[in-house]
């Protein structure tokens, strides 16, 4: 007869372990939802990018390997679109950084009405992009637009100009609308960072005879580098994926002169029903944006210099 071993006493969890277990229990449902709505679509899209996948119910999907990626890489429209998107991104983000920094400096110097200026900055940023796009479309309207009205009253033009039909001006006009909308985001980030800088360094440099520009260039700017990096990455990634403002203002026209890479992805995925191509374009966009973020981090992130 085998000896019956006494039941092992149940290990009592410490209070911390009990808290951890409860925490997981509460977080797991939300975690599952988040994984379901973010991770699964990413995996599904990645799989889809290797298939010829027409839109529809019960459509036959054919495995094409890297075919969708190769088709895009060989397509002239794809590279034209990438070039155009880079142009939008570089010009838009550059303007936002320069203007954002200038306004942040202005607010930081606390001129008369600086609180009102800081508050009013939030308004363009708070306006939904779709509303912003619709507003600028009206501003640019050839027959009813405020821009033509203003220029006519100033005597700068004799006839209304159909701004959005001019191939070389359409993209700069979209950029202007985007800068108006998102520049406040950059300005507020930089202004918040400026407010945290130690004033002693600035004062010491002033005592040593450094002028305002030297103090900005040699003291504040290096110290602002982490904040600039955050703003730069956030805005670059966002600008490279620009879609809604183009959709509303120009719908990629005239003659594709405002067709961006995300818009091309949308066209392939929904109106044209090429889901495989759309999925591969999505991943190509991801590769571009991650690459740009890594480049910024490589050249701008030097934590040892700001400590």
């Amino acid at each position: 007869m085998a000896a019956i071993s006494p039941p092992r006493p149940r290990r009592k969890l410490s209070l911390r372990q009990q808290d951890v277990r409860t925490g997981w229990l509460l977080v797991i449902p939300a975690l599952l939802v988040i994984l379901g709505v973010t991770l699964w679509p990413i995996i599904y899209t990645f799989i889809l990018s290797f298939y010829h996948a027409p839109t529809g119910l019960n459509q036959v999907r054919t495995f094409v390997g890297l075919g969708n990626y190769l088709e895009m890489i060989k397509d002239r429209t794809f590279w034209e679109t990438i070039g155009r998107t880079m142009y939008f991104t570089i010009v838009s983000v550059s303007l936002e950084m320069v203007l954002g920094m200038a306004i942040a400096q202005l607010i930081h110097s606390h001129p008369w009405g600086w609180r009102f200026l800081r508050f009013s900055l939030i308004i363009p940023w708070a306006v939904p992009t779709i509303v912003n796009g619709a507003m600028w479309r009206w501003i640019y309207s050839a027959d009813f637009g405020a821009l033509n009205g203003l220029l006519m009253q100033l005597g700068l033009i004799k006839h209304y100009v159909p701004w959005l039909t001019l191939p070389n001006l359409a993209m700069p006009l979209v950029i202007l609308a985007d800068v108006w909308h998102t520049m406040p985001f950059v300005a507020l980030i930089l202004q918040a960072a400026l407010a945290t800088l130690p004033i002693e360094l600035d004062e010491a440099a002033a005592v040593d005879g450094a002028n305002a520009f030297q103090r900005f260039w040699q003291i504040r700017l290096p110290l602002l580098r982490p904040a600039i990096l955050v703003a730069l990455i956030a805005r670059t990634v966002d600008a490279f994926r620009v879609f809604d403002i183009v959709y509303i203002i120009t719908s990629s026209g005239p003659a594709n002169r405002t067709l961006t890479i995300t818009y091309l992805t949308y066209l392939n995925t929904f109106p044209w029903g090429n889901q495989g191509i759309g999925a591969s374009l999505s991943f190509l966009i991801s590769i571009f944006t991650i690459s740009m973020a890594l480049i910024f981090i490589r050249f701008l992130y030097h934590p040892e210099e700001t400590q």
Partner: protein
Amino acid sequence: MRTLNKITLVALALIIVFGVVGCQKKQAGGVVIHVLTMDQAGLKPAEIDQIAREFETLNPDIKVSMEYVGYDYVHDKIVTGMAATPPGYDAAMIDVIWPDEFIKSGYLLDVTNRVTADMKTNMFPASWNGVTRNGKIYGMPWLMDVKYFIYNKDILSKAGITAPPTTWEELVDQATTIKQKGLVEFPIMWSWAQKEAVVCDFTVLLFGNGGAFLDTSGKPAFNNEKGVQVLTWMKKTIDDGLTNPSAISSIEPDVEADFLAGKSAFAVNWLFQYSDSNDSTKSQIVGQAAFAPMPVFAAGAAAGIKGSSVDGSSSFAIMATSRYADQTWKFLTYLASNEVQMKYSAEMLPVWQNDFQGDALAKLLAATPNNPVTVPAFQAQFPYANERPTVAYYNEASAALQLAIQEALTGVKTPQQALDEAAATWVSLAGK
């Protein structure tokens, strides 16, 4: 106490989860059908809402939830709605250019057996052509529309012009006179933005010049001399300051806004522009708009072409995933019924051909103040409605043509070069 708190928290989490799931339950006392349509041509949302409420009164067990979006968003809403679970819509408006794509995608329910003999016999045959493929019917005809030539009587009168043009060449002459007299800066307005609207206008002009999209063997023909002549003419009217240059970024509501502000003497648009032109809350030219048969090119007229427009009809289809096909069909039957279409005919003429004959015609003409003008205009123009190609890849093919037209209009490429490239894209798409 600590254990009690944990139990309470977990219970709360479960209540929230199941509460959310529970919200998906069917509405007590009947079913709700979801219907998607456009807020542009045809009836206004308030009118369709009114029809839906009338239907609900007659059918208390069915509730109708209408959703309205601009025409340009309907297609994508259908595609995303069909990917959803439960399906986004029970029925949707289907433009005449979409059935081939949506049938191939398996989106549309075959309703052949639901169509009655009365519907088959008394609705316009053309309205059935838009939803019939290989002998099967996939929708209920709803809106029969074509592009109309609309002009401003007062402006023509002030210019000393006694009759609207019958050829596009005459239009140029009249527009030149109007411009020279300083009545308006740009006498002609079109919807030539990089959207489907520009293909509609190109269709009007192409067929009016004796051209066609495809030749008899199914190959692209819009890039032959007929098509090139049309695109060259379009560009020239802009260069000569006759067509408003903002047409290149305009869609139909922009054309209407320009015309209703009295800024153009001639416009090509769908029927809705006429009723809006007589609405004093929207229009500065009340009573000045008039229809004329769409002009054709002199060469086309010489070749025997009597008219040319584009078919912009649409229907309502039941989605293949609908759980309430019977109730949805009942609503669509009501929506397209002779009585309802007659009652709401101010902005959308009936799809019933028997309404255009005998006593019914007199009733139709008296139904709304617009009808004595719109009914004859429809009868004169609809027989010349041309179809755009019926292929499953139409949207992508159309995008290539839209780009070509814009490239030519903005001077980026010559008309021949641009149309040749679009034709090559069409050949490539057909081969896929």
